[in-house]
């Protein structure tokens, strides 16, 4: 029966080519637009470290003076050097890393490459195991190298290709800002999306090319970049960054186990109280411990425009579907005579319904396929856009399946009402009016 209904459906669709094309194009446009925007939204709101992110937390304390104090406001988004170092050395979590962003002048040994500026991350050693960074060659630095302010550097795969032709460069020397560093590790490609650990920089940018111990970076006066927020007498200049009342560092911890999370939160409150007793903190203890995904949420990393575009596309799809329902209904009702004959000849309501549903399903399938092509085209267009996330807009297998199900499901749903309405006819009346 299915084959016969399909044949009927195709015949009926062929009879009215322009209308069929109109319905298919409307669905395809709606699906194409929705899938493009949904894919972008999906990519941007994804989990940067699947499997690990649930154990990562971003401790926050409030070291500011009473100036501008309002109850219930969140603590500053970063930590001061003093608090960062205190929390780092307290080692109350399973792993902890204190870090900040920067940029360094790289002076290649080759005469044919001009010195250039590279984005850098100055961090303590746990950064690598905590965020599970993949190493192509060598190893991360250790805590003792942190403490010794060792002149060591881990570089990205891209930088290794640029400077050392992609060969194992461990043990080589890299000059940066007139200081010599020993390459101890080369990273493999790594691009967490969003780049969660420092949201002051472009949230969807690529990972830095140079990694240096935080203590070393301070020792050789590497420039800090990102946000610096000061209060009181804080000037925010780089030279006094350790002592001035400014927040400019990110502190991340890894905690395995929910009971330990509560304990760490208590520890942060306790720490704040202790600092208040010492006179460093003035505000009532305000400690927060958002998880990685909560932190992304608080900071609204997914651009507002992307959300707006998704709603717009879904609205557009809705209009396209209403349009299709209307056209399909008109079409089915016009076939009342034919349906009346079939009913009179013994086809049950169910069978007529199935036949009409197959017809709408065919349109949905065609619309879905064209829509999928449009979605690929749409994503290609997104990749041509100037935004930093542009390059990430790729269709995944999951999204591909969703597109297809959405297309067929939507049209079947759109076909339900017309098919049901068309079934309601009285065969005798239809035959008579002929």
């Amino acid at each position: 029966m299915f084959g016969y209904y399909l044949d009927l459906a195709l015949r009926s669709l062929r009879r009215n080519k322009i209308l069929t094309a109109l319905m298919v194009v409307a669905i395809a446009l709606g699906i194409g637009a929705s899938m493009t925007t949904l894919t972008v939204l999906h990519v941007l709101s994804g989990d940067p470290l699947p499997g690990t992110s649930a154990t990562l937390f971003y401790p926050q304390v409030d070291p500011r003076d009473m100036d501008g104090y309002e109850e219930g406001k969140r603590p500053p988004e970063q930590v001061t050097w003093t608090d960062g170092m205190n929390l780092l050395h307290a080692k109350r979590a399973d792993r902890q890393a204190l870090m900040t962003g920067g940029a360094v002048p790289v002076q290649p040994a080759q005469a044919n490459i001009d010195p250039f500026f590279s984005d850098a991350r100055y961090t303590s050693s746990d950064f690598f195991p905590m965020f599970k960074l993949p190493f192509l060659y060598g190893r991360p630095w250790s805590e003792s190298e942190d403490n010794a302010k060792a002149r060591v550097v881990v570089i990205s795969r891209t930088l290794n290709e640029k400077l050392f032709g992609g060969k194992n460069s461990v043990g080589q020397t890299l000059r940066m800002k007139d200081s010599a560093f020993q390459v101890i590790g080369v990273l493999d490609s790594w691009r967490p999306t969003p780049r969660f650990y420092d949201l002051n920089m472009e949230s969807y940018g690529s990972v830095e090319d140079v990694f240096v111990p935080l203590t070393t970076a301070r020792d050789v006066h590497f420039e800090h970049s990102g946000s610096t927020d000061c209060w009181g007498t804080g000037g925010g200049d780089d030279d006094h960054a350790e002592t001035s009342p400014c927040v400019w560092l990110q502190f991340w911890v890894q905690i395995n186990g929910t009971d330990k999370v509560a304990a760490y939160r208590d520890y942060l409150v306790h720490y704040s109280q202790e600092q208040k007793t010492l006179g460093r903190f003035q505000r009532p203890p305000n400690a927060q411990l958002p998880s990685l995904m909560e932190w992304l949420d608080i900071n609204k990393v997914v651009p507002g425009d992307v959300r707006l575009q998704t709603w717009l596309a879904l609205g557009f799809l809705l209009v396209c579907l209403v349009n299709t329902v209307g056209l399909m209904l008109a079409k089915f009702l016009r076939k009342s005579g034919e349906l009346g004959v079939r009913r009179a000849l013994g086809a049950s309501k169910r069978e007529v319904f199935a036949q009409l549903l197959i017809e709408s399903g065919v349109i949905g399938l065609a619309g879905g396929m064209v829509g999928l092509l449009l979605a690929f085209f749409g994503l290609w267009l997104v990749r041509k856009q100037p935004s930093s996330y542009a390059a990430l807009a790729h269709m995944s297998m999951g999204m591909l399946l969703v597109t297809f199900l959405l297309a067929v499901g939507a049209t079947l749903l759109a076909g339900l009402l017309p098919a049901w309405r068309a079934c309601q006819i009285t065969p005798a009346l239809q035959l008579k009016s002929q």
Binding site: L19, L22, A26, L29, A33, M66, D67, G68, Y69, E70, A103, P105, Q107, D114, P115, F116, F117, K177, D178, H221, E223, W231, G232, T233, G235, D237, H240, S244, G304, D305, L308, Q309, L312, A313, G315, F316, L318, V319, C320, V322, N323, V325, G326, L327, L329, A330, K331, L333, R334, Q385, P386, S387, L417, R421, Q434
Partner: protein, 407 residues
């Protein structure tokens, strides 16, 4: 034209009529809001910067090694840049309009105030307003004897020594207006972390380097502090010479001190383009979706119209045979479409208002101006009439003889 027969016909096609109304309503609601957003973005793209964009260049460098004699080097750079043919004026600055990196501070009107009044950006650098070409509308520009060096200001601030800190400032008209509505700002005091500054001049406009909130985009102050950040703005005599001057200026700077890297070299007009590129992309996308929506809706009306005409061929024939003119038939379908569109637009307006309320809450968009409602209605009426014209003309062309034929 009698609309009662039309209404009675529509009652027989309740579902279809309902769908047309829903489609028109949704299109109306989405298009009204999308066009509103488009207009907002276009306003943003055309935001006034208050500086002479067509004559300005921006160059930023960074030293490779650690340097000590920053001030001497700045003087050397400035003198060399001034010598480049085509250069009118040069300034060593901390930030530039559309540069995206900025130095901002909280302002108070009373040092005892607990919460800051607002957050404004601070432009530093001798000659910065003159080089940028801002328009002074009251008071005076900052003088050479107002200026102090950045490193001294920093140590004075740390020592809470007010003498080591400049005490005058030039602010924008919008900031003056926000702080002292209806009064002259000249001679008034603003406070930044306990230090008072007297407003001595007001400029027409000077945009912030990074804009989070459009309503605060003009909250800028110029402080008389000299900086040596390796960041320069250059004003040229003729926009035609910009590329040539930029190239010569960069070459000159590298020649003086090759131990540094050029981070940025831009025409300010290109920086503006880059600054608003996301808004431009969003505008393009919204225009495309609006067009597609209107086309889909129009084609839907054409499709349904055609069906109805085909369905009612006999009925039309009978009416024609009974004496209705072609014009009567044409008007019938046009009126029918007008009725459906009107109901759709009515519902659409309510929906548009609702969507706007949501956008106001979630995207900090302003309220939809009332003018959008009549304009949107007119647009959809026009599209509806144009779309139904084809099917209606075909209906009018049905000959009366159809009435006598059996199928």
């Amino acid at each position: 034209m009698d609309i009662l027969p039309i209404l009675s016909t529509l009652r027989r096609h309740k579902t279809t009529a309902f769908l047309v109304i829903v489609e028109i309503a949704l299109t109306c609601a989405i298009v009204c809001n999308a066009v509103f957003i488009i207009n907002q973005r276009i306003d943003r793209i055309h935001m006034q910067s208050g500086v002479d964009e067509q004559h300005l260049l921006h160059i930023a460098l960074t030293n490779i090694g650690v340097t000590k004699d920053d001030k001497a080097r700045r003087a050397e750079d400035l003198a060399a840049l001034q010598q480049v043919p085509g250069v009118v004026s040069v300034a060593s600055v901390n930030q530039v309009p559309f540069g995206n990196s900025s130095s901002n501070g909280s302002i108070k009107l009373d040092p005892k105030q607990r919460l800051a009044t607002l957050n404004a950006t601070d432009y530093f650098g001798e000659n910065v307003t003159q080089t940028l070409g801002t328009q002074l509308i009251a008071g005076r520009e900052l003088h050479a004897d107002d200026y102090m060096d950045m490193d001294q200001v920093v140590s004075a601030a740390a020592a809470k020594d007010a003498k080591g800190i400049p005490h005058v400032t030039v602010i924008t008209e919008k900031l003056a207006h926000r702080l002292w509505p209806g009064q002259s700002a000249l001679g008034k005091q603003v406070y930044m972390s306990d230090f008072g500054f007297t407003v001595v001049g007001v400029v027409k406009e000077l945009i912030r380097p990074s804009i989070w909130d459009d309503s605060a985009a003009s909250y800028s102050m110029v402080l008389p502090i000299r900086v040596a950040n390796n960041e320069y703005i250059v004003r040229v005599d003729d926009p035609k010479n910009r590329e040539r001057v930029l190239k010569a200026a960069v070459a000159k700077l590298k020649e003086i001190n090759p131990h540094r890297i050029v981070l940025k070299q831009h025409l300010l007009s290109n920086m503006r383009e880059d600054f608003f590129q996301n808004d431009r992309a969003m505008t393009g996308l919204l225009v495309a979706v609006c067009t597609a929506l209107l086309v889909v809706t129009a084609l839907g009306i054409v499709g349904l119209g055609s069906f109805w005409v085909a369905q009612r061929r006999r009925q039309i024939g009978v009416r024609r045979a009974l004496g209705a003119t072609r014009r009567n038939i044409l008007h019938y379908f046009q009126t029918e479409n007008f009725l459906l569109a009107t109901i759709g637009i009515g519902v659409g307006m309510v929906l548009a208002y609702g969507i706007n309320l949501l956008l106001m809450v979630h995207y900090e968009l302003p309220r939809l101006p009332a003018i959008y409602f009549p304009v949107g209605a007119l647009l959809l009426w026009t599209i509806g009439q144009l779309a139904v014209l084809g099917p209606a003309m075909r209906a009018a062309a049905v000959p009366p003889v159809v009435a006598t034929r059996s199928v």
